[in-house]
Every structure is written in C-alpha cells, then in structure tokens.
Amino acid sequence: MEIKKYQQMMNERIEKTVNRWEKRETVSEDELYRFFHNVKGTSGTIGMSELKDIASHHLEFLEEKSGKLWTESEWRVLLKELPVYKSEKEMPVTENIWTGDLTEQEERPFILIIDDDVEFVTFIKDYLESNGFQTIIALTGEKGLELFYDMKPSLIILDYILPDIDGIAVLKQLLEKAQKEFTPIVMMSAHSSSENRARAYEMGAFDFIGKPIDKNLFIPFINNRLKFRDRVNNFVLQDELTGAYNRKYLTIELTKQIKKLAEKTTPAFSYVMVDLDHFKQVNDNYGHLVGDEVLKKFVELFKRVARPEDSICRYGGEEFTFILPDTTRHQAEARVSTFRELLSEQKFQSESDTFTVTFSAGIKEVDNGSFHPKMIMEHADKALYMAKDSGRNKTIIFDRELEKVETSDSLTIIIVDDDEVVRGMLTHHYRKKGEISGRPIEIRDYDNGISFLNDKWYKRNQQYIVLLDGMMPKMDGVEVLKQLRDHYPKKDIIVSMLTARKGELEVARALNLGADDYMVKPFNVKEVSARIDRIASRVLHP
C-alpha cells in the first residue's frame, strides 16, 4: 500500500485548515486542540513521526474547552513548525519563538563554561546547546565557582587563563572541588604548548583542548566524559566532601527500612529532614571554603551522637537527612535536640570572625510499611518547612494537621518583553505549570522596561526570576538591567536576558552588568522552562 498517498492527504489537510483559519479573526483554542489531536492520532500511523511529535508537544499546552481565542499571529506560531508548512510560508511576526526542538530538555546534561572571551563563550554555548546540552556561563573564575556550588554542573569547560588570575586560589578551589565530585574539568586555551598543558594537568584538569576546537571531535569528546562521570557516580554512595551518604544511598536505605516495617520486624523508624539555617550567608560572608568546613563538621558531630544503625545523608547543598531505625518521633525529637545542643556549642572560625550555626528539622515517623518513599520525604519536608517558617532553629514533627498547611512561599517570574506572543506563551505555560520544586509560581508581565521598573513588584525576601528581552522600544533590555541591578538587591533577583541571535555585544554587556544567564531567540517554551527550573534551584534554597 502506498502510504505516501495518506501523507499527501495530511499535508493537504493542514493547508486547507490554514487557509480556512486565515479568513477569520480568531481561532478558538478548542479548534486548535481538536486539530492537533487529530493530526497526532493520524500522523503516527501514516509514518509522519515528526509531525506527531510536534502535535503532541502542542497539545500539552492547549486546553480543550478553555474558551480562549487565538489571533492569527498566535496560532501561526504553532502552525509554522509543521514540516509541510514550514518550508513554504514565512511567519508575519517579527520575532519567532519555538523552533520545534522537542527533545526532553530536563534530562540534558548541564555544562558550566568559564571563559572571559565573550565571543568564544557565546560560540561554544550556541554550539553545545544546538547539540542538546544545557549550558551556563561565567566570565570570571569567581562567578564560575559560585555557579559551580549553586548549580552542580555535570562538566566544566574552563579557560586556561582567567582575568582574575590572582584568583589562582579560586581556580585551585574550583578544581579541587570538581575533582572531589567527579566532575570532569576540560581546560581550553589557544596556547597549547606542552608546558601549559602540563600545568593544566598538574592543577587537576582532566583534559586540555587547544583552541580553536575541532568540531568533529568536540561533541563525541564531551559525551565520552559525561558518560564516564555517570558511571562513576553510579558506584558512589558517599558524599565526597562531608563523608555523609549521598542521595542514592538514601533511597536504598529508606527502601530497606520500609521493607523491614512491612515485615513487621520493627515498630517504627523516623526520617528527619534537616536544613542548615541561613547557610547561604555563611558562604557569602566567609567564603565557600569555610562553608565546606561547616558542612564537614556538621556531619562529624552528628556521627558522634549517632548509633551505628543511624545514617546521615547529604540530600543537597546544605540539606541532610537522618534515618533513625527503631525510633519513634518523640525519641527522634529528643535525639535531634541532643545534636542541636552539641552543634550550638561548636564555634566556627573565619578569617575575621567566630560564628555558630543552627538548623531546622522536620521529623516524619513511619510506622507502617505501606508508605511510599516519596510520601515520607514530602511529609518530612513539610514539617521542615514549618520549622523554617516559624523562626528556624527548631524541630517540627509531622502530623495530620500539617498536611493541610499550604507550604512554601511563591516564586515570582517576571516577563519583560514587547513581543506579545512571547509573553503570552510563557505566561500560559507557567499558569499551567503552577509550581517549580513545590513553590507556587506567580507571574507578572510587562510590555516595556519602564513600566516594569516603575511598578511596585518587589518585596523583601521574595525570590524573583526576571526574563528580560534585550531589544525593546523606549528603553532597551540592557539599560533596564542596569537600573535593576542599581536599585534592587541582587541576591533575590535572577535575570536571564532574552536575546536575538548574533547579539554578542549585547550579551557581553548584559553579563558584565550582572545578568545571570541568557537565552537566544528563537527558543521553545520547553527549553526555557527547563532552564528556568535549573536556574530556580539557585534561589530556592535561601
């Protein structure tokens, strides 16, 4: 049978639909939904898999019976990607989003690029991203170190010579840290003398690559190193820095304890979620090295009061989990309190200061084997949140009442872009998504920088992610950024610039003025979403 015949019919169908819609003011979302639903159902069967993927992607963002009406420039964005349509007609809107790249971005490895050469950085970022990697860039070693701590990249690409070279200490710290976490560091330089290469290896680089890079080799090379890292991490059960167990072990141990309960060999165990209070301030005020010392000591002290069967796992940055077998919640509370006392007596030294640290804890007692690990974690997390919310340095036990408590402060995403389509798409996406890492999202959007700067959106101790278009009438994005950085505290506001291709100069200026990230248009919503999830993880642990 000639399958081409049906493919041809499908293409004609799309053409016809477009022609019909063009004659109208608006198209309802319901129609769009049904159109893509039918396309999806049929295209896979007649061997048009690309079309099927695009249709199912769009369906995720469309709602049946939503009542929303789409204008021509809006629905054209969706139609433009369809293979048949793409080749023939140009979209009438000026800036386009969504390039139809549909690979799942959340899973993509994350690469940190540290290099002061803006031209090279933008080139390599572009190249890596077009090959399916996520990247984040830093123009200085200092910034690179900060991003390394905050964002946990899978691989680091590092310029051999960085501008703050008296920050050789920074470099050393970065390299040591990366080695401990089995994160491959690739050094790059235009000066690939054997002397330089030797120095790089001595410093702890995994690899040294000369600039300009060989495009045929680069991606296979990166994949090779990432694969190696994955494999290593699969074997590792301990956190290298603190000696606590890691998350992988946590899952194993938790499953084991639940199984023991199910077999009724033990009456209950307690799962304690712990977070150091204001740890970011420790890092900011005294440096990451001192911060690392605190984490190490924290684990050491816990081990001092722990029984052999207890375990401590590093859950994330400054978050830990205790698993206490054969322990009721009240026993757990008492033991946490003993540990709290011990920690409060511990004095930490920085160059200029002596300080102490405190923590907040949430306890979940598990007394039957029917609990799902996720549920246990969520309950403990809720209790921990309450402990933080009610003043920190305390322990809260999870009970039924807490279940009803609305956790978490919101995270505000602000979109500043004169392009209505971009604003519409992103707003729509985030309304639907509703939360990031359990934090409810609030969305604001502005069609120009001046009304954004003049509006009273800022509240202290709230977290913001600002997506800022680089090219806007009235005041361009870079100027808006400058004003933003001059007038608002930097720490709670993450800025990502949305920029047109070939805007290298603009990118350089933006990064120098304190942008945290940038995304190149055209982009698709999923990609933006994945990036923002990642970026959000930086501000979500204050």
Binding site: M1, I3, Y6, M9, M10, R13, H37, N38, K40, G41, T42, S43, G44, T45, I46, K52
Partner: protein
C-alpha cells in the same frame, strides 16, 4: 465475506484503515461519527467494528454502551484509543469492548489484529 464497520471522524485515518482492510478482502462500511456508527451497527450484520474512542456525537465508549445486547453478542468490538490510560480501558472493557489498539498504530499491526480476531 466478513463484514467490518470502521468508525472514525478523522477521515485520513479512516480511509487508511478502510484501504488496508479492503486489501485483505473484507467488506467494509464507514461511519464518520458515533451516532452513525451506532445506527449502522444495529441495522447491518457486522462481524467486527473498529471504533475510535474520541468521536463527535457519540464517543466510541458511548456507542458500545448504547448497543443492544443482541448486537453486542454477535460482534467483536475493537477500540482505537489515543488515551492509553488504564482507567479508560477498564471502563471500555466493562462496557463490552473486546480489543484495544493504541494510536498511533501501524497498518500492519491493525491487519494482524483483525485477521487474528476473525480467524
């Protein structure tokens, strides 16, 4: 000759199914929505019906639910579904569907299933 009703509002897919099954030598009738499917099934002597889950007028599920007992006993019901959810399948199974084919399917897969059922 065995007689099959193909009910799907999506005309390209319906034509493809019809062509595929006609090539196998079956006698085919078509329906463009659930109501038409129901009427045809009650009138004609079909051996098998291929019903899309999502159809206007009546869904595939509603068609099955509305069939008379007698018709239901004499016919094999195949449901095409994009909703692969267990729940939908369970409901349809309880209502009397005999087989499921998840969209997208290949024409070969469809032929195989139909031949198997009517063998």
């Amino acid at each position: 000759m065995k007689k099959i009703l193909v009910a799907d509002d999506e005309d390209i897919l319906r034509m493809l199914i019809v062509d595929t099954l006609e090539d196998l030598g079956f006698e085919i009738e078509e329906a463009e929505d659930g109501q038409e499917a129901l009427e045809k099934l009650e009138e004609g002597n079909f051996d098998l019906a291929i019903l899309d889950y999502m159809m206007p007028e009546k869904t595939g599920l509603e068609v099955i639910q509305s069939l008379s007992k007698e018709t239901k006993n004499n016919i094999q019901l195949v449901m095409l579904t994009a909703k692969a959810q267990e729940q939908d399948r369970q409901i349809a199974l309880n209502a009397g569907a005999d087989y499921f084919i998840a969209k997208p399917f290949s024409p070969t897969e469809l032929s195989a299933v139909v031949e198997e059922i009517l063998a």
